[in-house]
Symmetry: C2
Subunit: 471 residues, 2 copies
Amino acid sequence: MTRTFTFDIHALRADLGGIEIEDNPALVKQKSRDFFWYSPVLKGQLDHITADLVATPKNEAEVIRILKAAYAHDVPVTPRGGGTGNYGQAMPLSGGLILNLAELNKVKSIHPGRVICEPGAIMAQIDKETRAHSGQELRLHPSTYATASIGGFVAGGSGGVGSIRWGGLRDIGNVLRLRVVTMEAEPRILELTGWELHKVMHAYGTNGIITEVEMPLTAAYDWVDVLVGFDDFLAAARYGDALGNADGLLLKEIAVVAAPVPHTYFLRHQKFIREGQSVAILMVAPHSLDAFEAFTQREKGEILFRSDKAADLKGIPPAYELAWNHTTLRALRVDPAITYLQTMFAPPTHIEKIETMTRLLGDEVPGHLEFVRFDGKITAMGLSLVRYTTEARLDEIVRLHEDNGCPIFNPHRYTLEEGGMKQTDEIQLAFKHEADPKGLLNPGKMIAFEDPSFDFHAKKTFLFPGLQRAG
Amino acid sequence: MTRTFTFDIHALRADLGGIEIEDNPALVKQKSRDFFWYSPVLKGQLDHITADLVATPKNEAEVIRILKAAYAHDVPVTPRGGGTGNYGQAMPLSGGLILNLAELNKVKSIHPGRVICEPGAIMAQIDKETRAHSGQELRLHPSTYATASIGGFVAGGSGGVGSIRWGGLRDIGNVLRLRVVTMEAEPRILELTGWELHKVMHAYGTNGIITEVEMPLTAAYDWVDVLVGFDDFLAAARYGDALGNADGLLLKEIAVVAAPVPHTYFLRHQKFIREGQSVAILMVAPHSLDAFEAFTQREKGEILFRSDKAADLKGIPPAYELAWNHTTLRALRVDPAITYLQTMFAPPTHIEKIETMTRLLGDEVPGHLEFVRFDGKITAMGLSLVRYTTEARLDEIVRLHEDNGCPIFNPHRYTLEEGGMKQTDEIQLAFKHEADPKGLLNPGKMIAFEDPSFDFHAKKTFLFPGLQRAG
């Protein structure tokens, strides 16, 4: 199947009177991009991508008007939140319309353990309001907390800061309810809860537009950022693992980054870190600090930095902006040749697997581990840096991981399946056929819809035929 | 070594002018007992035990005066909180003085994530104050929440409701600070934090008197009590395990009790439970209920009872009063021949071990599992009921467990070591020699102090020579 999109954007525009529209090509292109350029592969493939128009609805009624008009004119629609994705999640491969949800940004109501908000609400802003209201905060957020929207996180993220305590977004209970508008002649409004949520979560907006999000909250604390140094990466990894398993210590973030990354690339923290030190990046609840220090001393970790004891925090970013994909970002800023991989080191042998990969790849793939709960167990997700040379070598590094029992979620692919489970998500596919029968929502991201005969085991990269001027 | 205690109680009493003293033998005996009688073995050994006097200090200064006087007169001192222990923790084996801490019961201050209180404060009362103050509550409490003191919990408990989330009291961070008075000519006041806490935690008051407790707090919710029924005990056990591993669901309690116990012995809930049903006893955060229901439906559990949907809660006890040792209590009330055992089913093979023991012992030992975090992993602690016949058969049941890789923490022993790790706790022993050189604090409970040559591997029960009119 080769899909091409033929549409009259002017006709669509004529139907959108009263709605905020942007057509300045430079500004449209800006809103057509995310942080795909962390990947040299995606940079080559997607750099030229742009939409034709950006529409910025003010409320759900305007969302429905836009979808209805786009449906009538066969115009692709790609929803966008903060644009902080890394895999082109919100990039309009076939042009058309960007549905910019940035102005649907209200926190609607706050309850014990729950917040209801619009999809474009920025996560740091949600927490600001829930903290002021009742000392609560979101369970999970990405390292792009300050700029990422809650709808984008649910539609394109998987976990992040807080996953050491709560697991990932996919874990039932970590998203409570989504209100979704379908892409049909007469758009329907659906309220999804329980297992139904998986229809649209992490579907990149390919099968519905989220217009309201209900998320669980947890107790907010004045988290203390701590860096702990070790002379050896594996000692640091074992420490991170033990810390994650210490049930009485309340932490929100445990990352471990191998030398020489911390000293070389964490420029704002460089003065605290010695060359050759591997570092654990932590967020600790204030009331756990005494016990945490006793624990760290026993584990022979050296406390390099504590945000509650620092003489001057000016210019020092929060710890979570050293972690998750901000680790990659900080390295990239110093050395543009750096990219990264996402690896699953499955328990109970995760430490052994990390040891194996470290021995095999050394400083070509400096270790970066994010400790998380996964199906109830503490394990390490790898967000290893990669000193990139060629795409062939990158593929070889991927294969080396997989041959050693470490599955890769490839961040150098723009499709749902290739970046994720490498198989059809039948639930999401069925829901796309129902909610987006013309296949206009974010085309090219769900292989199972675009090319049902695609063989996920053939180790061939999917190239979306509808990709504009394919790179 | 045979220790005998010779003392002049009248001389002590003369030194305690101004302090509240009780010497009515019936009332003194009442304050010399706990719930040791759950064990037919301890009932035989300890039923006659009583102190000579009860002293009830009003503040730490009075505690110090009492200890100083008792030291001078060589009078044994056994501290007592709510008296809710099950192993004679607070029973004065050699008579002497009961140090009743019930009136040191103030909540002194409440902070984000922390509460500071006196040792005699009742746990439900602490939570009442911390909830009203800032929507916080203790992480952990026993099923005797309504009557147990915080000092007694730290000195004689190990975990309980909340352990599914936070692990046990021993896990660093679950107790923040203890203020302890020593038993010396000039009592010292020590402030213990970090690993130092293990010197006196779960030492039954044998090596210091706790006069102030600082505990971590967590967010309080209006927990919903839920009972979920299964036709098969092992299906219920697997459900409890899966539920504990569901990282996005916030629960405070997961217990699983085998048929016929729930229908037969949970009289207040009998109308909700069918004969032959094994039951999971749960406390679920309100904002997790929708996701919890979806999860339970997928796992084929039948929701029998929800406290938020019950027509009438009159006479219905809270769920935690069906769990932990309240399960035993409810069975005992109906059938006095019932007792219990405490078993460790270590992960990752805990479900297989439960299956083995169920097959071997059937309804002679009806299953009761408490799911907890243990070193970061969800596992099941057994609090199996036992249809008691003879002490010899009970010992055989213990051996059967141990032969099948399921260590027993024997609740039919009154010593620290035999009920626990069956080895000397060198840290507690060293601290006893330092803080209680005359060995006057709760004599007979720490074998390593009473008889350093005792062989823990000889499978012989320790009999404290100082036990009054030994039973």
